[in-house]
């Protein structure tokens, strides 16, 4: 039970990083990135390949950040003219392209068999239970750090300019803001955070395959950010833990129902997830912790 709890909390932390990434790009500059799973995959594969070649884990994490940021920049450049729904469709396609590359480029990614034996730092010396606990602490620390960093960004002049781009990109230009630069930087940073989440996932699981990066993850993260409150980093983090708790919770609920076989129970869970999203959007469309207006700093009364 303890290791199950540690596992769930660690996955919660990884989802929280993904939610922070989505909140930055969607809640920040208003770009709908349905390709989150793709950036997650790029990060995971980057570190698996680099550490598999003998590099230390820290270099693996760095290369995950870098690789996904570069893919993020390429996507933003390629989709500059697209907005709203069209950007969403392209990013959704991109995630599938990345997954199919992982599936087919066997020389690089080992195809459908996936990459196993990804270094789990210190696991062999401290044992599996201590590793799980230590890794949870590490992931949680990264989440807190990333949350503080993105909250700082949110409250900064950069965050204000980002939100202006989100609300009306043309008008932001008439306010003298460098719209293109803001979009590129926000997307690259967001992609890097998703990539970091992927790398942490890879080292935690020791095994990744294209199956781990289905578009469903992206949907879960959208659920998390919507539930937590779009445009507020704290909301994204809370939403992510809530979604993981809900996903795991429904597992037990489905088991408790009499006369439901395991296959039906699994389907029932998916339905409950959908129902939860509907319910949240209906009852609290602004999320648990909605975006707030920073009050004016009144230096004089």
């Amino acid at each position: 039970m303890l290791s199950y709890l540690l596992f769930t909390l660690t996955i919660g932390g990884i989802y929280a990083l993904l939610a922070l990434s989505l909140n930055l790009i969607w809640g920040g500059v208003g770009m709908v990135n349905l390709g989150l799973a793709g950036f997650f995959a790029v990060g995971a594969y980057a570190t698996a390949i680099v550490t598999g070649a003998g590099a230390p884990v820290i270099v693996g994490l760095g290369s995950a950040l870098l690789a996904s940021a570069i893919v993020g920049l390429l996507v933003t450049y390629g989709t500059l003219r697209l907005r709203g729904d069209y950007l969403a469709i392209v990013t959704l396609g991109l995630a599938e392209v990345i997954r199919l590359i992982a599936l087919n480029e066997r020389w690089l990614t080992n195809g459908a068999d996936g990459m196993s034996g990804i270094v789990a730092p210190l696991r062999s010396t401290v044992g599996s239970q201590a590793f799980n606990l230590g890794y949870l602490v590490f992931v949680s620390a990264v989440v807190i750090l990333m949350w503080l960093l993105l909250r700082r960004l949110d409250h900064s002049p950069f965050g204000r300019a980002m939100k202006a781009v989100r609300e009306d990109q043309e008008l932001a230009g008439f306010a003298g803001k460098p719209v293109l630069r803001l979009k590129l930087q926000a997307f690259a940073l967001s992609a890097a955070v998703a990539g970091l989440a992927g790398a942490l996932y890879g080292h935690f699981q020791s095994y990744i395959s294209p199956d781990h990066f289905q578009p469903l993850i992206t949907i879960y993260i959208f659920l998390a950010v919507s539930a937590g409150g779009v445009g507020r980093p704290a909301g994204a983090v809370i939403g992510a833990y809530a979604v993981v708790a809900f996903l795991e919770g429904t597992r037990f609920v489905a088991e408790l129902l009499p006369g439901v076989d395991p296959l039906q129970a699994a389907a029932l869970r998916e339905m409950l997830v959908g129902a939860a999203l509907l319910l949240i959007l209906h009852l609290r469309p602004q999320g648990l912790l909605p975006e707030r207006i920073q009050p004016a700093r009144k230096t004089r009364p």
Binding site: P157, R160, E167, A175, I293, A296
Partner: protein, 254 residues
């Protein structure tokens, strides 16, 4: 008369229809220039091309001696020209204060790295801007709604925010597209007084307006546009007497 803005032979077509057929005009430094003309004369298109929304097909634009032909909106703001919109536009979820702050230029904290590390320069600029934003809000009597989202304001207050945020950019020239349209008479007077006060502070203003009494009171020179070019310019009375202008508005006498 030194022109702050010179436009030469500016042309622009949309889908084969030439909307601007060669605009030639100067806006004198320190003036309140009125831009009038019948509907479809190309006034708003002229503003849109001038402010960088669309590039011109041909012609040249000089702002304070600097060639800004085809410059992007953000570059024009840096060069000292800010515009407002006919239908007041804003960022729905941002407050009045955030709108004012946003228009402040040269904020180093808008760079990613400076924003993350929180440099001293960014903090000091933010403080200076916030002092200024509060002063602008007080001046326009928006201080009691300063933390309200822009969507919660009345139509007239939105017009005032348009003017206030333009001020925050320290422009040399403000282009106002119908700043009094749809505003009640009291507020019209208030806006007119604000514009004159800004002009007295040295800001050149160019405005499109349909209220002739107002144009007469505020503007000199008055430039009349018709069929995508300048028809005449001069003092209001002089322009109003002009036979071509009367024909442009009322149609040709048979």
């Amino acid at each position: 008369m030194i022109p702050l803005l010179s436009v030469r032979r500016m042309t622009r077509s949309f889908y084969g229809v030439q909307v601007l057929t060669g605009v030639d005009l100067d806006i004198p430094e320190g003036s309140v220039t009125g831009l009038i003309g019948p509907n479809g004369a190309g006034k708003s298109t002229f503003f849109n091309v001038l402010s960088g929304l669309y590039p011109p097909d041909g012609g040249r634009v000089l702002l304070a001696g600097q060639d800004v032909t085809g410059a992007k909106p953000a570059q024009l703001v840096k060069a000292g020209m800010v515009r407002s919109f006919q239908l007041a536009r804003g960022f729905p979820k941002l407050s009045v204060f955030q709108h004012l702050m946003l228009y402040g230029q040269a904020q180093p904290g808008e760079r990613l790295w400076a924003a993350i590390t929180g440099t001293k320069a960014a903090r000091q600029r933010e403080e200076a801007l916030s002092e200024e934003a509060l002063a602008v809000a007080r001046r326009l009597r928006l201080d009691h709604v300063i933390d309200n989202p822009i969507t919660a304001l009345s139509g007239g207050q939105k017009k005032l925010v348009e003017i206030g945020r333009a001020l925050m950019a320290h422009p040399k020239l403000i282009l106002l597209d119908e700043p009094m349209a749809g505003v009640n008479p009291t507020l019209t007077e208030e806006i007119a007084a604000h514009l004159l006060a800004l002009n007295a502070d040295g800001i050149t203003i160019c405005l499109i307006e349909h209220d002739m009494a107002l144009i007469r009171r505020l503007c000199n020179p008055v430039i009349v546009m018709a069929e995508g070019r300048k028809l005449v310019e001069g003092g209001f009375d002089e322009v109003a007497e002009n036979r071509d202008v009367q024909e442009a508005y009322l149609g040709r006498r048979q």
